[in-house]
Each structure stands twice: as C-alpha cells, then as structure tokens.
C-alpha cells in the first residue's frame, strides 16, 4: 500500500500523471478514487475489495474525467486486459496513459462485505483467472501472490445449464431476464462498451427493442454477448453493477469458453493480439456447418 501511495505521489509530483485513478475507502467499502494531489494519493488503497474495473474511466467520452489531465490508472490483470482492449480498438493511446499494475490474488465475491480472501470468499471469475500481474504496465506494485485454488462455481453452473434441455435453459433464462429493466448498467460499466451510440439505441431499424419485456431483454443480452465475444476480459463489472442481480457472468463465461475452445483465444493484456472475431484461420472448426 505504501508502495502504491509513494508511486502515486511520485507520478503526480513529477508530472507524469495529473490524476491517479485508483481505489479509496468510501462510505460502503472501497470505491474508485481520483487522486490529483499528494493527500489524495495517500488515501489510495489496494486489497481484495478492489473489484471495480477502472479502465472505463479512460474512455475519452467521460469528458469530466478527461479534463483532469493525463491519467495514471491502477490496474489489476483483468483491468489491464480491458486497457489492452481499448488500446487495440484505438480508444486509448498507450502513450497517453500511465499504467500501474497491481499484483492481484483475486478479489472478493462480495467486496462490500469485506473480509479476507479465501477459497470461499473469492469472486468466481478470479477462480479461473490465471494472471497474477500484468505485463501491460509502466510500474508494478505489490507483493507476488499465489493463486488460490478454488473450484469455479460459475463454471459448474454453466456446466449444469449445458446439461439441461433447451426448454429448461429457456425457462431458466426467462426467469432471470424477467428482472432486467434495461437500465443499461451492464453496458455503462463495461470497459469495452464505449460506442458513441450503442446498437441498442439505434432506431432505424431497431435491432433491439428498448422495452424491458422478455423479447427485448433476450435480444439485448444475446447481442451484447455477441459483441463482447472474444473481447470480454472477465472483469465482472456487468454482473456486479446489475441492480437486479442477473447472472450475466454465466453468459460471458459461456461465450469465452466457446471462443477459447474454438479459436484458442483468451483475451490477454497484449494490445497487439487481435480479437478472434474479426480474424480467422482457414482451418477454423466448422463441424456445425453442413
């Protein structure tokens, strides 16, 4: 923690960054912080409660954040993957941002509840994450951590769903998606949903009905997953942000496993590696094609 704070102060003092985007203690646990001076930098924290992906704050459309000046952003490996995606997709220029990588052993499934990281409390997505620190960083802080061995409940749930009949899966998802109010929180917090105008907001034609009825909701979540296929970095923000508790991570996880199985691709922190959708190999599997 001291290391992070000292680095943040140094970056600010030397003018390498005008704002350090990290985490601080807030009224309900930790939350994103925008440190522009040494005092604020001294309040930065990093621990297993820091689930928030800070990469979305690099989006140039967040004018009020951009106005603070050149950012340094603290990134967990998953967040770094998001930054890599933004660089790859020309939303962020690598040279325009200072990246401070934190060594991460995973975050808590319920960051607000706090507590220590254990096989029981670790977030599901961290159970299948194999990255403890990122190469996409100008500085790396924290002590090396060992991964926690814990079976992924999410993968087990995906497997359960896979084992169901289509009718059962349909019923399951209709039950879940019925809660969706299309508040768009999942989209707004997603580091890779940065479009000036989302496809869902297009009206001529309206590919995705904006009404939060089952039909609009299903089409929205299908197309959201398609657009994120091979790009989703599994930062978990969509599911965390959903005020209706819809298990969106199951969908993104499923798509990620399809992409990994079929195209051998896992989103990583190298911006030079292209997204698997938008590239191809002549020998891609096509057993499903007649």
């Amino acid at each position: 923690m001291t290391e992070l704070r000292e680095l943040a102060k140094k970056l600010l003092a030397e003018g390498a960054a005008k704002v350090v985007i990290g985490w601080e203690e807030g009224p309900r646990g930790v939350r994103p912080a925008f440190a522009t001076d040494a005092a604020a930098a001294d309040r930065l924290v990093f621990d297993a409660r820091c689930a928030h992906d800070l990469a979305p704050y690099l989006d140039r459309r967040r004018v009020h954040v951009a106005k603070l000046g050149r950012p340094a952003v603290v990134v967990k490996p998953c967040d770094a993957r998001a930054v890599a995606g933004l660089i790859r997709e020309t939303q962020v220029k690598r040279e325009d941002v200072v990246l401070v990588g934190v060594r991460c052993g995973g975050v808590l499934a319920d960051p607000e509840a706090g507590g220590t990281l254990s096989a029981d409390t670790i977030a599901d997505r961290c159970r299948t994450c194999d990255s403890r620190e990122t190469a996409l960083a100008d500085h790396v802080v924290g002590t090396p951590v060992e991964p926690l061995a814990a079976p992924s409940r999410r993968d087990a749930r995906v497997a359960e769903l896979d084992a169901m009949t289509p009718a059962q899966r349909w019923a399951f998802w209709q039950g879940e998606l019925a809660r969706c109010t299309r508040c768009n929180a999942c989209r707004q917090v997603c580091p890779l949903c940065y479009c000036d105008r989302c496809m869902a907001d297009k009206t001529q034609p309206q590919w995705i009905e904006s009404s939060p009825h089952g039909r609009g909701n299903l089409s929205w979540h299908l197309l959201r997953a398609i657009h994120l296929a091979g790009r989703c970095v599994d930062c978990g923000e969509c599911e965390r942000a959903c005020p209706s508790g819809i298990p969106l991570g199951l969908i993104t996880r499923k798509v990620a496993s399809v992409v990994a199985d079929r195209f051998g691709h896992k989103p990583g922190d190298d911006p030079a590696v292209p997204s698997p959708i938008g590239t191809w190999r002549s020998d891609d599997p096509q057993e499903f094609i007649l």
Binding site: L161, D162, T165, P166, A167, Q168, R169, W170, A171, F172, W173, Q174, M199, W207, I208, E209, S211, H213, G214, R215, G216, N217, L218, S219, H221, L222, L223, A225, I226, A229, G230, I251, K254, V255, V258, V259, R262, F263, P276, I277, G278, T279, W280, R281, S282, D284, P285, Q286, F288, I289, L290
Partner: protein, 148 residues
C-alpha cells in the same frame, strides 16, 4: 418455452440468409434443375455471408421464424476472399450462445452451398425443414413481448 409438441399441420417458417455468389446461385441452379424441395423457406439475398449480422438471425426468431438458414460460399471460395471465414467465426459463437439461452440448435442451420450445388441446397432446405418440424413452432420468442 420451446415447443415440443409436433403439431399436426405445422408448416415451419424458415428465413434463409444467403450470399449472392454461391448459395443464391446454387439455389437458382436447383430451380433450373427443377429439384423439388419443401416450400417453407424464404431467401433474403445478401452480397456475402460476411454481411450477415447475428442480429439478422436473432431478429428472425424474434419475429416468429421457426428456423433460420445461413449459407454461403465454401471456405476459400468467397467472392470477397474472406467474408465466409469471418461469418464462420461469428456463427460458431452465435449458435452456441443461442443454444445456451435455450434456443434449440436444430432451429439454426449453417451450410456452405456453392453455385454448382443445387442438389445440396435442396438437401439443406429439406433437412432444415425436417429438423424444425421436430422442434415444433417457435412462437415463444415472439410472444415474450406480451401484447395489449
């Protein structure tokens, strides 16, 4: 919910999205060869499978299609070099995703039909109709919106 009952008299409605250069022409050949096939499909002609957006498939189901066919040029035959390769990746993902969300994968048929494969097109159409017939009508997606 996915229908399981095989309603008698059920005639599936199948939307086919095909590329102009291979499958559309192959379907033309099926016509000039007078190959008889089920009358359940309606073709939407597009320049290339690369143009076929997963949204088309979703929209067709949303509007009440019982099945969808996506068809284009064989690998390495794309008129535009690589549109079918892009499509292949897209639809590999879409297919599994639809299935994961509860849409029976028998409702979606993907095929490569070249301009010379009129008979294959017939088989693709007939096969798709048969599979969709097994699944039964797919009104449930459309009905999710509820009415007045």
């Amino acid at each position: 919910m996915e229908g399981t009952a095989t309603a008698t008299g059920f005639e599936p409605r199948i939307t086919a999205f095909v590329c102009n250069w291979c499958t559309y022409t192959g379907a033309d050949l099926a016509g000039t060869s007078r190959l008889q096939m089920a009358a359940n499909t309606r073709i939407v002609r597009l320049p290339c499978t690369g143009r076929i957006d997963p949204a088309f498939v979703i929209k067709a189901f949303e509007r009440g299609a019982d099945g969808v066919i996506v068809s284009g040029c064989h690998p390495a035959d794309c008129h535009y070099t690589a549109g079918n390769y892009h499509a292949r990746r897209r639809f590999a993902v879409l297919r599994e995703l639809l299935s994961f969300m509860g849409v029976d994968e028998r409702r979606v048929t993907f095929s490569w039909v070249s301009a010379s494969e009129g008979a294959k097109w017939r088989d693709v159409v007939n096969g798709a109709v048969e599979r969709v017939r097994e699944c039964g009508p797919f009104e449930s997606y459309r009905a999710l919106a509820g009415g007045v």
